[in-house]
C-alpha cells in the first residue's frame, strides 16, 4: 500500500480545521470557510492521489493501538478497500462541492465561521465512519456524526423548531445507537474481537460461533443503521432535520450521514444471517413505501426531498437485506450525487425565494433561475430513474437484485415506490418551476451566484453520468468472489440484460409522470386531498408517527420520570428522610420534657434510675 499515511491526513485534516477555526479564526468568516473548504478539497485531492497510487482493488489496514485493557483491544485503525475508497470519494467529493456551495449560501450569516467548523467536524466524523476498521471506532464516529448533525440541524438555534428538530434527531439517533452498542457488546462478547477483519476471519472459520444470538446480534447492529439511515421506525427525525441550513440537508441528510447506515451494513454484512437480512430487507422496503407515500402530500420543498431521501434509503437498506451490497452501494453513490444536487438546487431556489420554502408560494421559476432549473431537472430525472441518468441504472440494479432473490413482494414494492417517486418529484417540479408565480417572492426570485451554481453543475454532471462511469466496477470483488470489470458501453447497456425489471421501472416512471403532469401542471392548489380524502390527511400528517411516538415513547419516559421524581421527592426525601429527621427532632423534644426544672421530679427520676439499675442487674 503506497502513501500509507495519506488516509490519516485525509481523516485528520478536517479535525485540524475545526481546531483552527474554533481556536483562532472564529472572528473571520472568510478565513474560516476557506480553511474548512481547503481541508475537504485537499482531502478529495489526496483521495484521488491515493487511489491513483493504489487503485481500487486492494485491501489494507493501517492502525495504531488506542486502548488496550486486558481482553479489550481497540485500535484506532483505518480500513482501506474499495468500499471505503468509494465512500471516501463520495464524502470528500460531494462534500467538497457542498462546502463550496455553502460559502455562497451562508454568506450573509454572521455565524458562518461556526457553521464551517461544524461542517468540518461532520466531515471528520463521516470520514471516520468510512475508514474505521473496527466496531468501536465506527461507533465513536457514529456518535460524532450524530452530534455534528445535531449541531448543524440546530445551527439556527434561536428558531425553536430548529432546536426541537436537533433534539429529536439526536435522541432518535441515540435510540439506534443503543441497539448498535448493544449489538457490538454482544458480538464482542461472543467473538472476542472488535476488528472487522478479525471478526470476519473468525466467523468464516466458525460460522456457528454467534450461535442462537446471531439473529438478535444482527438486528441490534442494524438498529444503528436504523437510526442513522432513518429506517422505520426511527425515521421520524429526518424530515424535521430540514430545519438546518440547506447545505447541511444536502451533505448530511442526503449524501453522506444517512448513507452511513447502509455503508455500515455493507461493511459488516458478514455478520448477518439470513433471518436478520430478511427482516432488514422488509424494513427497508416498508420504509421506502411509507416515506414515498408521505412525500406525496408535503408542501415544503425540502421536506419533499427529505421524504424522498427516506424512501431511497429504504431502497438501499432493502437491497442490502436482499444480499445485494453492490447495488445498494451503487444506489448510495448515485443517490449522493443527485440528492445532493436536488437539495442544493432547492437551496438555490430557497435563496432565490428569500427563504420561502412552501412550494405553493413558488411557480414559474424556470425563467428566473435557469441554471438552477436545469440542474434541478437533471436531479429530478436521475431520481426518478429516467434513462440514461444515474438513478436509472442504480434503481434498475436494485430491482434486478430483488427479482434475482425471488423476493417478488419487495420487487413489487420497488416498482410501486418508483412510480410514487416520479409522481411526487414531478409534482414538486411542476409546481415550482411551471405554472404561474404564486407569490410576490416568486416573481422577484433571482438566480444564485456562481459559487453556488458551479457546484450544482458539477454535481449535475455526475448525476447524469454516474450510472456508467464504473462505480460498480470499483467495488470489484469486495462482495463477490469474481467480478469482471465492465467497459463503459457494457455499463451503459447493463439494464438491457434483464429486460423485465427495466421495463417495470420505466413503466412506473411513465405512470408517475403522467399522473403528476395531469394533476399538477398549472395547478394552483393541490387537488389530491379532495380525491384521496382521509388517506391524503394521513400522508400529510406522516401517518401520525410523531404523535404516536409522542404518546408512547416520550410519554412513557416522562411518566417514569415523573414517578421517579415523585418517589424521590416525597417518599425518599419526604417520607423516609423526613421521618428520620422529624423522629429525631421529636424524640429530642420529648426526652427533654423530663427536664421539668422541678427538683422533686429530678429526685424521683434519679431514684427511678437507681431502681431500674438495681432491678436489671440484681432483680432477676
Amino acid at each position: 500500500m503506497k502513501y500509507e499515511n495519506l488516509p490519516w491526513l485525509i481523516l485528520f485534516l478536517p479535525l485540524l480545521s475545526v481546531a483552527v477555526i474554533t481556536l483562532f479564526t472564529l472572528r473571520s468568516k472568510t478565513v474560516s470557510s476557506l480553511i474548512s473548504i481547503g481541508a475537504v478539497v485537499t482531502g478529495f485531492v489526496m483521495t484521488l492521489l491515493f487511489i491513483n497510487a493504489n487503485g481500487f482493488q486492494f485491501s489494507g489496514e493501517t492502525s495504531a493501538n488506542w486502548l488496550s485493557i486486558g481482553g479489550l483491544q481497540i485500535d484506532f485503525g483505518l480500513k482501506l478497500d474499495a468500499l471505503s475508497m468509494m465512500m471516501l470519494l463520495v464524502v470528500t467529493g460531494v462534500g467538497g462541492a457542498i462546502h463550496i456551495y455553502s460559502f455562497g449560501y451562508m454568506h450573509d450569516d454572521e455565524s458562518m465561521a461556526r457553521f464551517f467548523a461544524f461542517l468540518s467536524l461532520f466531515t471528520f466524523s463521516m470520514l471516520g465512519i468510512v475508514l474505521a476498521n473496527n466496531f468501536l471506532m465506527m461507533f465513536i464516529f457514529w456518535e460524532l456524526v450524530g452530534v455534528s448533525s445535531y449541531l448543524l440541524i440546530g445551527f439556527w438555534f434561536e428558531k425553536p423548531s430548529a432546536g426541537d428538530a436537533a433534539k429529536k434527531a439526536f435522541v432518535t439517533n441515540r435510540l439506534g445507537d443503543f441497539g448498535f452498542l448493544f449489538g457490538i457488546l454482544m458480538v464482542w462478547g461472543l467473538l472476542g474481537s472488535l476488528s472487522f477483519s478479525a471478526l470476519q476471519t473468525t466467523l468464516a472459520a466458525n460460522p456457528a460461533l454467534l450461535g442462537a444470538s446471531a439473529t438478535l446480534a444482527g438486528l441490534l447492529i442494524f438498529c444503528g443503521a436504523m437510526g442513522k439511515s432513518a429506517q422505520f421506525p426511527l425515521h421520524v427525525w429526518l424530515p424535521d432535520a430540514m430545519e438546518g441550513p440547506t447545505p447541511v440537508s444536502a451533505l448530511i441528510h442526503a449524501a453522506t450521514m444517512v448513507a452511513a447506515g447502509v455503508y455500515m451494513l455493507c461493511r459488516t454484512l458478514f455478520l448477518f444471517n439470513s433471518e436478520s437480512l430478511h427482516l432488514i430487507s422488509y424494513i427497508g422496503g416498508f420504509t421506502a413505501l411509507l416515506a414515498a407515500l408521505m412525500a406525496v402530500q408535503q408542501n415544503d420543498i425540502k421536506r419533499i426531498i427529505a421524504y424522498s431521501t427516506l424512501s431511497q434509503l429504504g431502497y438501499m437498506v432493502m437491497t442490502v437485506g436482499l444480499n445485494g451490497p453492490t447495488p445498494a452501494m451503487f444506489h448510495l453513490t448515485t443517490h449522493a450525487f443527485f440528492k445532493a444536487l436536488l437539495f442544493l438546487s432547492a437551496g438555490s431556489v430557497i435563496v432565490g425565494m428569500h427563504h420561502e420554502q412552501d412550494i405553493w408560494q413558488m411557480g414559474n421559476l424556470r425563467k428566473k433561475m435557469p441554471i438552477t432549473f436545469l440542474t434541478f431537472t437533471i436531479g429530478t430525472l436521475a431520481l426518478c430513474g429516467v434513462p440514461p441518468f444515474s438513478g436509472f441504472y442504480s434503481k434498475d440494479a436494485i430491482l434486478t437484485q430483488a427479482l434475482a432473490q425471488k423476493s417478488y413482494l419487495l420487487f413489487g414494492v420497488g416498482v410501486f415506490v418508483a412510480a410514487l417517486t416520479t409522481f411526487y418529484t414531478f409534482r414538486l417540479f411542476f409546481i415550482v418551476f411551471f405554472g404561474k408565480e404564486k407569490s410576490k417572492a416568486a416573481s422577484h426570485a433571482h438566480e444564485s451566484p456562481l459559487v453556488m451554481t458551479l457546484p450544482l453543475i458539477a454535481l449535475a454532471v455526475f448525476s447524469f453520468a454516474g450510472g456508467f462511469i464504473g462505480i460498480t466496477n470499483n467495488y470489484g470483488s469486495q462482495f463477490v468472489n469474481h467480478h469482471e470489470a465492465l467497459s463503459m458501453a457494457q455499463q451503459f447497456t447493463e439494464p438491457f440484460n434483464n429486460l423485465f425489471p427495466m421495463a417495470c421501472g420505466l413503466g412506473a416512471v411513465a405512470v408517475g409522470l403522467f399522473l403528476a403532469y395531469s394533476l399538477y401542471n398549472n395547478a394552483a392548489a393541490d387537488p389530491l386531498p379532495t380525491k384521496l380524502g382521509g388517506l391524503a390527511t394521513l400522508m400529510k400528517n406522516k401517518f401520525y408517527f410523531d404523535e404516536f411516538y409522542e404518546a408512547t415513547f416520550i410519554r412513557a419516559h416522562d411518566f417514569l420520570a415523573a414517578v421517579a421524581d415523585w418517589l424521590d421527592r416525597w417518599i425518599l426525601e419526604g417520607a423516609i428522610i423526613g421521618a428520620i429527621r422529624g423522629g429525631t427532632d421529636l424524640s429530642g423534644r420529648a426526652l427533654r420534657l423530663a427536664q421539668t426544672g422541678n427538683l422533686q421530679t429530678y429526685a424521683f427520676l434519679f431514684v427511678l434510675g437507681v431502681a431500674l439499675l438495681l432491678y436489671f442487674v440484681l432483680g432477676k
Binding site: L593, Q595, G597, N598, L599, Q600, A603, V607
Partner: protein, 101 residues
C-alpha cells in the same frame, strides 16, 4: 430469734428507704434535707453493725468521717437554702423552676 447482723441491716435498709421516700415525696427543701440525713444515718448504722460483726474498726472510722462530712454538708446546704429563701421567699421545690427543659 437471736438478733443478728440481718436485723440491724434490715433496720438500716428500711431507714434508707424511708429517707429515699422522703426525698422524693416531700416538697419542703428542709424536710428533703432531713430525709437525706436519714439516709446517711442508715449508712452509719450499717457500717457500725458490720463493724461489730466483722470485728473490724475501719467501719467506725468511716462513720466518723461520714458524720463530719454530713455536718459540713448540712452547714453549707442550710446556708444555701437560707440564701435562696431570701431571694425567693420560699423553700418549696416547685418554686425552683426558673431553669428547665
Amino acid at each position: 430469734m437471736h438478733v443478728s447482723l440481718h436485723h440491724y441491716l434490715f433496720v438500716s435498709f428500711m431507714l434508707f428507704s424511708l429517707g429515699l421516700l422522703g426525698v422524693i415525696m416531700r416538697r419542703n427543701l428542709l424536710v428533703i434535707y432531713m430525709s437525706l440525713e436519714l439516709m446517711l444515718n442508715a449508712a452509719n448504722l450499717a457500717l457500725v453493725s458490720f463493724s461489730r460483726f466483722n470485728n473490724k474498726l475501719d467501719g467506725q472510722v468511716l462513720v466518723f468521717f461520714i458524720i463530719t462530712v454530713a455536718a459540713a454538708e448540712v452547714a453549707v446546704g442550710l446556708a444555701l437554702i437560707v440564701a435562696l429563701f431570701r431571694k425567693r421567699q420560699s423553700a418549696h421545690v416547685e418554686d425552683l423552676t426558673s431553669m428547665k427543659l
